[in-house]
């Protein structure tokens, strides 16, 4: 009975999330819809980061660079190989998945701060690498699909026609990112609730006990990085679309990687519920901070203060807080059923 209710609760939560995503644009201005679409990209990348850091316990400061891999896959395939931008999204995920696998190889040997530094190096090197291979990436100019592949950039002219409907571009991008985000968070939920998720968490909790229970630690660490890379790649691919079909090395400097870590931690590591909140946090709080004061450096201080406050007041992150709010309700349901 408990189990039935828990699944029913999960379905209800998912249905509420879908409904919220569907109706939200009615209250959003065009500019706000664009900002939400950007947050949707972060949402997807943060789910991926959470699989590695929250579930498997392997810190990554390199996920911004994995987003860059996805973004450039989309930009290059659309600009140079005649693909429609939308069809490149899964391909971007797969290419970034391979990059994630490679990024996960050091995790077989390194842990903690050493792994953090190895992934950090990847994030720091990425813009320089992108500039170095300018034949492919357009160097520091980047790639502008608006100029190079307008006809294959869905909605670049302001509207999208879809099965008899006409959607404003930013509404379309909003639905696209959050729609993919919801599907991928559902997939992540299915992944972590069974054998695979238990193996990830076992590696996080105790490597020696995991190995002694028959879990191949190296395999699951690299697998977590690879799956995570897929998510970051899809997020990066969509990021090109929501950035006016433009990407350059300065889109994915090191601070994107840090921002994703902030989003995952603020959202609540090791739970999926908070990842959307973490994404909204890193999208909107810096903007609000900038509106509070224009004094030099002040927005950064406000943003930093907000992070510290969340960490002190809500140790489980925003997701943990959400669960705590709904706990009395779910507990009442459980006890009534017994």
């Amino acid at each position: 009975m408990n189990r039935v209710l828990r699944i029913a609760g999960g379905v209800a939560f998912a249905a509420a999330a879908v409904a919220l995503v569907l109706v939200l644009p009615h209250w959003l201005s065009d500019a706000k819809a664009a900002e939400f679409a950007r947050a949707g990209c972060f949402f997807i990348a943060i789910i991926g980061l959470n699989l590695v850091t929250g579930y498997t316990g392997q810190i990554s400061l390199g996920h911004g660079a994995l987003m860059a891999v996805g973004a450039y896959t989309t930009a290059i395939l659309t600009a140079d190989h005649g693909l429609r931008d939308l069809w490149t999204i899964p391909l971007a995920g797969l290419v970034a998945m391979a990059a994630g696998f490679a990024l996960g190889l050091p995790a077989r040997r390194l842990s903690g701060l050493y792994l953090a530094l190895a992934t950090f190096a990847f994030a720091v090197a990425m813009p320089a690498l992108l500039k170095r291979f300018s034949g492919l990436t357009g160097g520091s100019q980047g790639i502008n699909l608006f100029d190079e592949a307008l006809s294959r950039s869905t909605g670049a002219l302001g509207h999208v026609h879809l099965a008899g409907w006409t959607l404003a571009t930013n509404d379309f991008l909003y639905y696209l990112t959050w729609g993919i985000g919801l599907v991928l968070s559902g997939a992540a939920w299915l992944l972590v609730r069974g054998r695979l998720g238990r193996a990830f968490r076992a590696v996080r909790d105790s490597e020696v006990a995991a190995a002694s229970s028959g879990i191949n630690i190296s395999f699951y660490k690299t697998l977590a990085f690879a799956i995570s890379g897929f998510y970051a790649g899809v997020g990066g691919s969509l990021f090109v679309l929501v950035s006016n079909w433009f990407v350059s090395p300065s889109t994915f400097t090191f601070d994107k990687s840090l921002l994703l870590v902030v989003g995952a931690v603020v959202g609540g590591l090791g739970s999926l519920a908070g990842m959307a909140l973490g994404a909204l946090f890193i999208q909107f709080v810096p903007t609000w901070a900038a509106n509070l004061s224009s004094a030099p450096g002040a927005p950064s201080v406000f943003f930093g203060t907000a992070i510290v406050l969340v960490m002190i007041l809500l140790p489980g992150g925003l997701g943990g807080f959400l669960l705590k709010l709904t706990e009395p309700l779910t507990r009442r349901l459980y006890t009534r059923s017994e």
Binding site: A199, S206, A209, S212, I215, N216
Partner: protein, 239 residues
């Protein structure tokens, strides 16, 4: 032929010889005790058998085939499971989830059956990080059994338990040996427990094996008594 055979195994850490030229065999169906003062090399030997360490020389074989080329996570699959001296559970997971992880490689028994067998039904949905120590030890035992082992290595299962709990543990070990068709190798400081359940006892001191035999005989062995407490009898040497 012995189920587990350790032959002339030596392990050094820097200049320290933790295990020196140790040989021992555990017959199928036996409960074997491994005793010795602190630092005698008992846990090191366990870590060598389960592949967490590699010996500098010597051979360790299970069912007649070497274990030395098998990585730790595959040793479980071959049928060797263990518990840890200081309890290595997955603290953020529930008791049930811990047991399910134990079934990762080749679970044969349903988790619910194991929880019942070890009296863990009531705490199945509790996180292991918040359980009393004695209960944690039983969870660890359930997790080890979940992999369907032929050989079970118990590292100080009585450590930190009260008197009554130790008596129950002795009965439990004998019971699971027959109901799970197990062979058990047991590291223990608690002499009453070892003498009560073990068919054969091996004694280590300073990394070397100093005696082997049936419990009663080992207990009277002057070399063993000397190693423990000079002239005192070993049953006072509880941890």
């Amino acid at each position: 032929m012995a189920l587990l055979s350790v032959e002339h195994v030596t392990k050094r850490f820097g200049g320290v010889v933790a295990v020196e030229d140790v040989s021992l065999g555990v017959e199928s169906g036996q409960i074997a005790g491994l005793i010795g003062p602190n630092g005698a090399g008992k846990t090191t030997l366990f870590n060598l058998i389960t592949g967490l360490y590699r010996p500098d020389s010597g051979e360790i074989a299970f069912e007649g085939e070497t274990l030395l080329r098998t990585p730790p996570h595959r040793i479980v699959r071959r049928g060797v499971a263990r518990t840890f001296q200081n309890v290595e559970l997955f603290p953020t997971m529930t008791v049930l989830e811990n047991v399910l992880v134990g079934r990762h490689s080749r679970g044969e028994r349903p988790a619910s059956e194991l929880l019942g067998e070890l009296g863990l039904d009531a705490v199945a949905q509790r996180r292991t990080g918040s359980l009393p120590f004695g209960t944690m030890k039983r969870v660890e035992l359930a997790r080890a059994l979940a992999s369907g082992p032929r050989l079970l290595l118990l590292d100080e299962p009585a450590g930190g338990l009260g008197h009554e709990e130790v008596d129950e543990l002795g009965a439990l070990i004998s019971r699971i040996r027959s109901s799970f068709d197990l062979t058990v190798l047991l590291v223990e400081h608690h002499m009453n427990l070892v003498m009560g359940v073990a068919d054969r006892v091996h004694v280590l001191d300073f990394g070397r094996k100093i005696a082997e035999g049936p419990p009663a005989e080992v207990q009277r062995n002057p070399v063993v008594i000397e190693a423990y407490l000079g002239s005192e009898r070993p049953q006072h040497a509880t941890a």
